[in-house]
C-alpha cells in the first residue's frame, strides 16, 4: 500500500474525537482505584480509632498535606507523560519540594530533641512495616494508571512508569495515613518517602515493558 493510499484510508470516514475524554478517563480510573485502596486499608488494617483527636494536632495536617501535594504532582506528571511532547515544566520542583520541606522539619525536630529521644522520632513504633504497607496500598492505583496509560501514548516509558509509581505511592501513603499512628517529621521524611519510592522504582523498572505501544 502506498503512503497516499494509507493517508486516504486513515482519513476516510473519520468521526469527531473527544479530546477531553482523556482527562475524564484518568479521573474515573484514579477515583475508582483510590476507593479500592481505601477499602483495602479498612479491611486489612482498619481506621485509626483516635483519628478525630489527632486531627487537632497540626502535624497531622502537615502529614496529609505532604501526601496530597505529592499525589497531585504525581498525577499531573502521569497526565503529561501520557501525551507525546508535553514538557514537564515545574513538575520536578513540585515533586522535590514536599520531601525537602519535610526534611527541614525533620532536622529541626531532631536538633530540638534530647539525644535519647531521637531514635524514637526516627523509628517510631512502625518503621519496619510502614513502607511495605504504603507500597501495598499503592497497587490498585498503579494498575489503574498503567491500564489508562496503555490507551494513551507515553514516549518516555521509564519516566512514565516512574510517574505512575509515584502517584500511586503518594495516594497509597495518604490512604495509609488514616491508619498510621506516626506523626514525627523524621519518621515521615524517611519511611513515607521510602514507601513511595518503592512503587516509583518499580514503575521505572517495568515502564518499558508495560507501556510500550
Amino acid at each position: 500500500m502506498k503512503t497516499d493510499e494509507l493517508v486516504a484510508l486513515l482519513a476516510t470516514g473519520t468521526q469527531a474525537v473527544d479530546t477531553a475524554a482523556l482527562r475524564r478517563r484518568f479521573l474515573a480510573a484514579a477515583s475508582a482505584a483510590t476507593l479500592v485502596a481505601l477499602l483495602l486499608m479498612l479491611a486489612l488494617l482498619g481506621l485509626r480509632p483516635t483519628l478525630s483527636d489527632e486531627a487537632l494536632v497540626p502535624m497531622f495536617w502537615v502529614r496529609e498535606a505532604f501526601c496530597t501535594a505529592l499525589a497531585a504532582a504525581g498525577l499531573v506528571w502521569v497526565a503529561r507523560a501520557s501525551r507525546p511532547g508535553r514538557r514537564l515544566g515545574l513538575i520536578p520542583v513540585a515533586i522535590a519540594a514536599p520531601p525537602a520541606l519535610m526534611w527541614i522539619l525533620a532536622a529541626a525536630s531532631l536538633l530540638a530533641a534530647a539525644p535519647q529521644q531521637r531514635a524514637e522520632l526516627i523509628f517510631g513504633q512502625t518503621a519496619s512495616v510502614c513502607p511495605f504497607l504504603i507500597a501495598l496500598l499503592s497497587v490498585p492505583l498503579f494498575l489503574a494508571l498503567v491500564w489508562t496509560m496503555r490507551g494513551l501514548a507515553p514516549t518516555r516509558l521509564r519516566l512514565a512508569g516512574a510517574a505512575a509509581g509515584l502517584a500511586a505511592g503518594a495516594v497509597g501513603a495518604l490512604v495509609y495515613s488514616l491508619h498510621c499512628p506516626e506523626l514525627a517529621a523524621p519518621f515521615l521524611g524517611i519511611w513515607y518517602v521510602l514507601g513511595m519510592l518503592m512503587p516509583t522504582a518499580l514503575g521505572a523498572l517495568l515502564g518499558p515493558l508495560l507501556l510500550r505501544w
Binding site: L10, A11, G85, A153
Partner: protein, 181 residues
C-alpha cells in the same frame, strides 16, 4: 502566509472535530514533513524511511486523541516520530546507525519531502491478515468509504461493533506493523 505549524494545527483541529477532508490534507502534508525528518535522520537506512513514515502516520492517527489543542503541534508530532524511530532502531539493534542527534531542536515541520519511495512492507497485506471483525469494518468504512450504518447492514454487525472494529482494527494493524509480521 501562516507557518506550517499554524496551518497544520488548524487542519488537525478541524479533523478532530470530524471534518474528513481537512484531516486528509493534514495527514498528506504531515507525511511529507515526516518523510523529510526521517530521511535526514536515516541516511544510512534509506530503505526504512517510507515504512517508518507509514508507521508514524498510523501512530499519529491512532493516538490523535492524545493531542492537547493548547500545545504546539510540532512538539507532539516530533515526540511521536522520535518514539517510532527509536523503537524501530531498537528492534533492529541499530541505534548506531542514527547519524543525527535526536535531541536537537530541529523544527520537524520546517522541511517537507513529497518524493515517496516504495514502502517495503505492504500494509495492505497486513490488513488482509486481520481477523474479520477488524478487517471488514476497515475495508467497508475506511477503504470503500461506506457509512457506518451501511457497513453494518452489509456485514450484519451492529453499528457500534463497526465503530469499535475500525478503532481496534487500526490499533491491531499498528501492532502488526510494529512486530513486522
Amino acid at each position: 502566509m501562516p507557518s506550517s505549524e499554524e496551518r497544520l494545527r488548524g487542519l488537525l483541529l478541524r479533523g478532530l472535530a470530524g471534518e474528513s477532508s481537512a484531516y486528509h490534507m493534514f495527514l498528506k502534508e504531515l507525511a511529507a514533513h515526516l518523510r523529510a525528518y526521517l530521511r535526514k535522520r536515516l541516511t544510512r537506512l534509506p530503505e526504512e524511511v517510507e515504512d517508518l513514515v507509514q508507521e508514524s502516520l498510523l501512530a499519529v492517527h491512532n493516538q490523535r486523541h492524545t493531542y492537547d489543542p493548547t500545545q504546539p503541534l510540532t512538539a507532539w508530532v516530533r515526540a511521536l516520530a522520535r518514539y517510532k524511530l527509536i523503537d524501530m532502531l531498537r528492534r533492529r539493534s541499530r541505534t548506531d546507525l542514527l547519524n543525527d542527534p535526536l535531541d536537537d531542536d530541529t523544527e520537524l515541520l520546517a522541511a517537507s519531502d513529497n518524493e515517496a519511495a516504495e514502502a517495503r512492507r505492504d500494509i495492505g497485506k497486513l490488513l488482509a491478515a486481520l481477523p474479520e471483525h477488524h478487517r471488514l469494518p476497515i475495508v467497508y468504512v475506511k477503504l470503500e468509504g461506506l457509512s457506518v450504518a451501511e457497513a453494518a447492514r452489509r456485514t450484519g454487525m451492529s453499528e457500534s461493533a463497526i465503530k469499535v472494529g475500525v478503532h481496534r482494527g487500526l490499533k491491531a494493524l499498528a501492532a502488526k506493523v510494529r512486530s513486522g509480521s
